[in-house]
Symmetry: C2
Subunit: 121 residues, 2 copies
């Protein structure tokens, strides 16, 4: 089974994946079919909706990439990690923390919180 670190790395790779077909494969392999995602700005359930949320972030921030920020923490079915979103060679303007509930090897629910947002956002 994926440990918390691998799960978090796979999760960030999904959010950075711009190819729709590869994103579908990643969602099919690592998320339950009815997986949910919710944060203060958006929500979705199932691979199509979650993939569309990721597309929307790419459309809004075409030059930005996600990266893990700090330590990854997990116990039982629960994983917590923080991330940052920004362009290369700049201080990331957006940061957040995500809480994942897993069902065995698959992500079944993600709840996200924002830790840093641009003043203009």
């Amino acid at each position: 089974m994926r440990d918390a670190t691998q799960l978090a790395n796979d999760y960030i790779a999904l959010w950075n994946e711009r190819d729709l077909a590869r994103r579908r494969d990643m969602l099919a392999a690592g998320w339950t079919t009815d997986a949910t995602y919710v944060d203060p700005l958006m929500r979705g359930a199932g691979a199509s909706e979650i993939s569309a949320l990721i597309d929307a972030v790419h459309a809004r921030f075409p030059d930005f990439k996600f990266a893990l920020d700090g330590k990854i923490d997990g116990h039982g079915d629960h994983v917590r990690f923080s991330w940052k979103l920004g362009a290369q060679n700049m201080e990331a303007p957006i940061k957040g923390t995500d809480f994942v509930v897993r069902d065995g090897d698959r992500i079944k629910a993600v709840t996200g919180f924002l830790d840093k947002v641009p003043a203009a956002a």
Copy 2:
């Protein structure tokens, strides 16, 4: 309905309440009957088990109190806040972050993570 700040304050007050009857009242008023709590060290479901977890913390740390630490953050049914546990006039040796899922006005699930633990713990 309680806002995120009130919910977090009530939650901390519950964890500091040493009177069993008052804790039962607080759990009956503010938590669902099947509410769950899980962190890296302990888990429980329902008022009796959750109250027993709180008792166990009081037994282990008789001079310590919980306090909120930093900002309280909520969206939709989700609330996040950090806390510290320690004695008066000392740097808190234990810190954590809790994620709450609410069902209307009541807490239905808490997932806790530890941010700081004593080296000897």
